[in-house]
Symmetry: C2
Subunit: 273 residues, 2 copies
C-alpha cells in the first residue's frame, strides 16, 4: 500500500542542490506573496493533513521516519524535524524503539489532559478517579454569542451539555458545554452516561473529533443560585469561571465550555516561562 505521492505544496525541485522552486510556474501569476516555506514545514503540513483526514487516528502509530522520508522524497532528517515540531505541539508522541504515535485523550496516563485543577494537598490521583454526572444534553439553535465563538451562524444546530465533576464525593466543577450540531450528530445523554472514558476520548472514537489545543479565560465570580445549589456552596461564594474554546487539527473551534470551579480545596495550576 501507499505509493509515494512526493512533496507537492511548493513543488520543491531538488535537481542541483537543495533549492525550493518558485510557488507558481514560470514567472507569471502570483507575485509579492511570500509563500515560500522550508521543506520540513511543508512536510509538517502534509502530516497534519493526514491527521486531519483521519489517515492516522489518535492512538495509532504513524509510519516510521524512514518510510515517511521515502514517501515525501526527502531525507530522514527533514522528516525528523517536522515530527519534532509536531511532537512539541503535542500532536504526536515519540516512543523510542516503538514508533511515533498520534496523541490521544484516551488511554493516556493523564486522564484529563486539559484540566488544570489540582488538589491543594495530595497527589494527582488523590481520591481515585473523578465521578462524572451528565445533567443534561439538549439539541438547540446557536445564539449569536455561541455562533460567533464556534464560527457558526446564528440558529445553526448545536448540542448543549451540562455536567458535574466530583472529586472524592465533593461536587467541584459544574460545566456547560456547547458543540456544533453537525460533527456531533448522534451525541445523546445515553451515550455520554454509558461511557467510562473522558469526554474528549469519546469525541475521538465516536465522532472523529480530536481536540488539540485550547484557550482558557479565567475570572473570579460569585456563585449564583444555580451554581450554589449544584456545588453545595452558599450563594455569593467565590468561584472560578473557566471559559474554554477548544480547537481541532485544522484550527477550527469545535467546543465552547464554561466551567465553574470550587477552589476551596483545589487550585488552578499554571506554568510560566
Amino acid at each position: 500500500m501507499a505509493t509515494p505521492p512526493a512533496v507537492s505544496i511548493d513543488s520543491p525541485v531538488k535537481d542541483a542542490g537543495n533549492t525550493i522552486a518558485a510557488p507558481a510556474g514560470g514567472d507569471a501569476g502570483a507575485l509579492a506573496v511570500p509563500a515560500f516555506s522550508p521543506l520540513y514545514q511543508q512536510i509538517k503540513t502534509l502530516i497534519l493533513r493526514s491527521l486531519q483526514a483521519g489517515e492516522w487516528k489518535p492512538g495509532d502509530s504513524i509510519p516510521s521516519e524512514v518510510e515517511l522520508a521515502a514517501r515525501y522524497r526527502v531525507s530522514q532528517g527533514t522528516v525528523r524535524k517536522a515530527i519534532d515540531e509536531l511532537a512539541g505541539d503535542n500532536l504526536l508522541v515519540r516512543r523510542q524503539g516503538k514508533g511515533t504515535f498520534v496523541t490521544t485523550h484516551a488511554e493516556s496516563h493523564i486522564p484529563y489532559r486539559f484540566l488544570r485543577l489540582l488538589p491543594d494537598t495530595g497527589t494527582l490521583d488523590e481520591q481515585g478517579p473523578a465521578e462524572r454526572h451528565i445533567i443534561e444534553c439538549r439539541r438547540l439553535r446557536a445564539s449569536a454569542e455561541v455562533a460567533r465563538l464556534l464560527a457558526l451562524r446564528s440558529g445553526d444546530p448545536i448540542v448543549q451539555l451540562r455536567r458535574m465533576l466530583s472529586f472524592g464525593g465533593q461536587p467541584t466543577i459544574l460545566e456547560d458545554i456547547w458543540l456544533p450540531g453537525l460533527p456531533f450528530k448522534g451525541l445523546t445523554l445515553e451515550l455520554l452516561s454509558g461511557d467510562q472514558s473522558p469526554m474528549y476520548a469519546l469525541f475521538e472514537t465516536r465522532f472523529g473529533v480530536c481536540m488539540v489545543r485550547a484557550w482558557e479565560k479565567i475570572k473570579a465570580v460569585s456563585a449564583d443560585a444555580d451554581a450554589a445549589q449544584w456545588l453545595g456552596v452558599p450563594e455569593g461564594h467565590p468561584l472560578l469561571s473557566v471559559e474554554r474554546l477548544a480547537y481541532t487539527y485544522d484550527d477550527a473551534p469545535m467546543e465552547l465550555r464554561r466551567g465553574i470551579y470550587r477552589t476551596d480545596a483545589h487550585h488552578y495550576r499554571n506554568e510560566l516561562s
Copy 2:
C-alpha cells in the same frame, strides 16, 4: 580570548566513533545509576552554567554556534540542538543573521512576560502602560511558610514588598512579594519607585537575578477589608488570588508573590495543548 575548556561533565571520549565515556573510571564505584547523557545535554548544562555565572548577561549575545562548537569541541549541529532546547525554554532567543541572545525581562516588547491578565476587550496596550505604585518595602524575617517556599530557614532575612498595578487609572492588581534578603541586599523603596522598567528587569540589572520560569496557583477568593479598600470593590467581591513561585537558572526559588486580581474588566488567559 577564551581557550577551549572542552567538554568535561561526563568526560566524553571521541576517539573512535562518538562514544560517551562511563561516569566513573573502571567498573568500581556507583553502579545502577543511569548517569549518562547525550553530548548536547552536556553542552546545554555548560551553557546553563555560563548563564548562571553571569558570563553572558540578559540581553547580551552569546558566542556564535561555530565558536561554541570550537570551545566545546563538538560539531555545530550538537551545539545547535543544545541552543534549540534552551531557546525552547525561553532562556535564549535566536535572531537570524544577528546571533543568539540571553532572554531578558527588559527591552522586551512584552513588558510583563509573566503577567497573564488581559483586558476583556481591546488590545494588549489598551490604555497605555500600567501605572505602578510601590506601597511598601520592608526587611524582616521569614515565617515558616515563606521560608519553606523560598528554600530558606525560618528567621532568615527577607524583603517584603507590596505594590499596586492600575490599568487606565483602574486599580486592578494588589501584590505582596517576598524575596530572599541576601541576593536582594540594597533593594529599597526609593530604588523601586524611581525605576521605570518592569520589576524583573530591575532585578536583572541591579541584582543579577533572572527569573526564568514560575508556577502559579490560582483560586477564587472574597475581597477582605484590605483588598477591598485598595482595589475599590466592596468587601466580599470575588477576586482572583494568584500565588506565584518564580525560579532562576539554577532552579532555586527566588521570589514568592501573591497577587489579588480584579477580573471585572480583565481575565487571566491561558493556552492549553
